[in-house]
């Protein structure tokens, strides 16, 4: 599913709304999450998951082609941790089985 398909599905569920409003809603949500992460904030959506920013230390890497050492500066990378409910439903779905989650926890 891509963003435009998500918008279409939401439009079908909400026939009283204009499609352009649904587009703005979807864009606003992802824009808010991105802005929060860019500020260094965490975004916690219970049941779905949490977005956070992890710091990667500066390191000396190697250019794989030339073997030359290159300095890589400190970086920040976005990270997503799946929420408990979503993780459980993934394993109760058609190809997963419910006892897997119980075994993973044990």
């Amino acid at each position: 599913m891509v963003k435009s398909e998500l918008i279409m599905r939401l439009a079908e569920m909400n026939p009283h709304l204009y499609q352009r409003d649904i587009e703005r809603i979807v864009s606003t949500i992802f824009e808010e999450i991105s802005t929060a992460l860019a500020r260094g904030d965490r975004v916690e959506l219970r049941g779905f998951g949490a977005f956070s920013v992890k710091q990667r230390a500066a390191r000396v890497a190697r250019n794989p082609r030339t073997g030359e050492a290159v300095r890589v500066t400190e970086k920040h990378v976005p990270f997503f941790k799946t929420g408990k409910e979503l993780r459980q439903s993934l394993n109760e779905g058609p190809s997963g089985s419910p006892q897997n989650e119980a075994a993973a926890k044990a």
Binding site: E32, A38, R39, H76, P78, L86, G96, A106
Partner: protein, 103 residues
């Protein structure tokens, strides 16, 4: 870095400010977006949001794990995990803005 936590409440507020629906309906729509993404993933579909990132499901095989406390071997059954792959746009934004903060 600010270190605050953004939740559904702030996302709903942003939708409310941006679109002019009621607060309740804004909250319902935020919920619908998350639910649609979740349902799509449970079906095994990949969800791609341009300039944000993509979510996909990875099938993990059976392997032998170990209880770190007792050292006992335990089988880890095959399971499905969700992976988020951030887009370049998002990665670049996070690096541009967070590093400016510290300067």
């Amino acid at each position: 870095m600010a270190g605050n936590t953004v939740t559904r409440a702030q996302l709903s507020e942003a939708v409310y400010q941006e679109v002019g629906l009621s607060r309740n309906e804004s909250a319902d729509l935020v919920e619908s977006v998350l639910r649609e993404i979740g349902e799509s993933l449970v079906k095994g579909e990949t969800v791609k949001i341009s300039s944000f990132g993509s979510f996909y499901v990875r099938e993990k095989g059976r392997r032998i794990g170990r209880n770190p406390k007792t050292g006992e071997e335990v089988p880890i059954l095959p399971r499905r995990v969700l992976v988020f792959r951030p887009s370049h746009v998002l990665k670049d934004r996070i690096n541009a803005e967070t590093s400016q903060d510290r300067e």
